[in-house]
Amino acid sequence: MKRRREQHLELPATTASLRELQQAVERMLATAAPPVDERTSYEITLAVQEMAANIVEHAYGGSGGLLRVWIRLLPARFGRPARFIAETEDQGTPFVLDLDSAAQEPAPTEDGLPSLRGRGLYLLVHLMDRVIYEPGPPLNRWRLERQLDGAHDTGAS
């Protein structure tokens, strides 16, 4: 399989594009050397999915738009471990986002059930080593980073 270190995608901001993005991330991780384990691949793919889903639903309100995504594998070098990086740009509505709050488990609803909202950001923050969001206008930007040496601890036992 040809090793892909970098890929740029321009996709309509629709849920159908989420599947295409998932597949692109999985294909790239499948070519990583040394190999990325299944758990890491899943968690990275999920975090990118949650980021993109946020853009589709919240930045564009489900009404379409363009989602630009750059995904990259950086090899280990100069003492830094190998990393996966995903970056996006969109021209949708920026959100007011507190990543520290997003890292806290969403509060249950009055009936004691898990909240229906907020879980995507919670997952994203816990599954990646570094999450940066820069709201626009004109462009909103996300950057996600995850080391590929298996050192990440989600906290899930």
Binding site: T15, R39, Y42, L46, Q49, A53, P114, L123
Partner: protein, 112 residues
């Protein structure tokens, strides 16, 4: 002595999902669950053993089902995904503390 007997039948809908349960595929699941609920379904076992990718949209659909079921006096049990990675996500989001989790459908049905 007077004796009365009556038959009590518990209907449990077993919904088995395969593959990816995510923002792209969740509308189909929601539609199926809505149909079952509308027909009076209150008790559900959702078999995730064949699900290899689950995201927050998929989880939200399960929570919606649980909310509805409890409102009408029912419940929802889940069967663990076979994928270890997917199981970890359920641990991370503490879904395993909200839903009764089982290793297989038979166990879920027995313990309903």
């Amino acid at each position: 002595m007077e004796l009365e007997t009556r038959e009590h039948v518990l209907t449990i809908h077993v919904v088995t999902a395969h593959g990816r349960l995510d923002a792209f595929s969740v509308p189909e699941l929601r539609e199926r669950l809505l149909a079952l609920s509308t027909q009076g379904g209150r008790h559900f076992v959702v078999d995730l053993s064949g699900v290899d990718f689950l995201d927050s949209a998929g989880m939200a659909a399960l929570v919606s089902l649980l909310k509805h079921a409890r409102q009408v006096g029912g419940d929802v049990h889940l069967v663990w995904p076979a994928s270890d990675a997917a199981r970890r996500i359920l641990h991370l989001t503490r879904f395993d503390r909200v839903f009764k989790m089982h290793d297989n459908v038979d166990e879920a049905l027995d313990l309903f």
